[in-house]
Symmetry: C2
Subunit: 321 residues, 2 copies
């Protein structure tokens, strides 16, 4: 039995772009877009539509900006079966970069925000819907949010927007199933007219399991990435999600194929997936930035402090913040 | 809040031994035993006590047999804080290989069995308890068991043994949380006088999550391995379990240390952990043997059929069996 309301979004290029400053080749993006389209993925997120005021084009690749001409290069000639999404960071994007819908191949603007920036997020989401797009708001770093701030933000989102869905984003991969259960119920209480979404990270090998927990609790908007490619330990793997969801429209074969041809070769330049430093950052509910530095240092010059010292340093920072 | 009844068993040497024919050096086993002891692990399984009639000592290492002199070499001089366990396979072990408890440093005999061999398992478990050991029965390949056979086996185990615990063993890593929930309730209904245990594999990245699910449902005997070292995608990682359980007697630092010094270096000879062939075998609820051959072939000579063809072949076998 499947739930037809479920909408799966592939975030491989967008979340994976946090590991390589969004520097994917056009061929890579085309392969991923084609495979996800053929697999029946509902929404394909091709990157960020962020501002060049915040991200230098010298340092960041095309998928941090997702100009319309680049999106066309990535999708031209491939039968369009999915909605195309881009993400705007509430504090690093401009509504002016969003063209009227009639001039864009984008269908959906996903606005990522910290709770403190929810007013900016609402403005960007309303800018998008006013211009003819669907919009979502994705609340990042939810494991660091103060309860009262979250309650207020959800009330505002319900009252002041016409977004399709509001996502729970476990940026630090530190939530257990009981936390997912708690948050989903809270979101459902406040967001009477919106769908709920879930975006998990895999620092504690719970990305897929927490997504299943959300599905069981009636969450319908699900994020995944190919072989989990995404920041730090990565995300809920799309191939696992495909295996779990019973909707016959999904076809796992193009996903397996593109993982082999396109995703696994990226591992020579990027180290995502479960490892001890990422695990420590998730367990201690901290941003993975220090763990990423550890992993990069180990890779580049082999000089690292060791797991025990790293754990103790992270623990000290956790206590002092 | 923690549950003092919970007993954690480290199976690194035993389950990891399925990846290298139990050929660990004494130094490796000593390091693991020492680290797990210092970390507060309740039970440390040092290998199999299987029969040389079934396993040639030419092909298999010392930890397939766990002779008492080898166990002494692995543990001498290290303060004993945990129970020492060995495993007997119901269809490949002999009761005669179990000495009277007074002549052994083993505390606990874990009998692994397929449901069809439950009478052999009961005989081995009773042999162990009669000789003065604790015993458990671990029901393997539970995702392939016919419901009626399992019901009958559980009735027998309850009536005919005085084991400490009976384990649900997800050998193929193919169970979802709802399956764990279902099986735990069944075990609890039949096994009124025994504890329930859980042993998970990680083919679908659910080893840790399914262990948590079992904990929530009052399962008290938990298996884990260091960095998940075990057959195919491996097991529930001990480091994650330590992070989840709140019992202050646990100390994660020796676990992190031994993973770095002893476990990670083993990766040059053994490939455990999540990958696409293992994932396919878990998703299709099949024995990982074909996936292990795929992974080995890719490693040794690079000649493999590709993920899509492998999936289609496994799918065909699944349908034909």
């Amino acid at each position: 039995m499947f739930r037809p309301q479920i909408k799966v979004c592939d975030c491989t290029i967008r979340d994976g772009g946090l590991m390589n400053n969004s520097k994917f080749t056009v061929e890579t993006v085309r392969s991923i877009y084609k495979a996800c389209s053929e697999a029946g993925v509902d929404i394909i997120e091709l990157g960020y539509r962020n501002s060049r005021d915040h991200f230098s084009p010298d340092k960041y690749g095309a998928w941090r900006f997702c100009d319309e001409d680049m999106l066309k290069k990535a999708t031209d000639g491939i039968p369009k079966t999915a909605k195309i999404a881009v993400m705007q960071d509430a504090h690093k994007a401009s509504g002016d970069d969003v063209l009227p819908k009639s001039e864009s191949i984008v269908d959906l603007i996903r606005v990522a925000t910290y709770v403190k920036d929810v007013d900016k997020a609402i403005a960007l989401a309303n800018n998008a819907t006013k211009k003819g797009y669907e919009a979502t708001i994705n609340i990042m770093a939810i494991s660091h949010v103060l309860e009262r701030d979250l309650d207020e933000a959800l009330q505002q989102i319900e009252a002041e927007t016409s977004i399709t869905a509001c996502y729970i984003v476990d940026s630090f991969g530190s939530l257990y199933s009981e936390d997912i259960d708690y948050l989903v119920h809270k979101f459902q209480r406040y967001l009477r007219t919106k769908e709920i979404g879930i975006h998990c990270h895999n620092q504690m090998q719970l990305g897929f399991a927490n997504t299943i927990e959300a599905i069981i609790k009636n969450v319908n908007y699900l994020d995944g990435t190919l072989y989990g490619l995404g920041r730090a330990a990565g995300n809920c793997p799309m191939e696992l999600l495909m295996g779990f969801l019973k909707n016959p429209k999904f076809n796992i074969l193009p996903i397996l194929d593109v993982i082999e041809s396109t995703i696994l070769p990226l591992r020579k330049d990027m180290e995502w997936g479960y490892n001890v430093p990422y695990m420590i950052s998730g367990m201690l509910n901290t941003h993975p930035i220090d763990a990423m530095k550890y992993v990069d240092a180990q890779r580049d010059n082999g000089k690292v402090e060791g797991f025990v010292k790293f754990y103790e340093r992270m623990r000290a920072e956790e206590i002092s913040t």
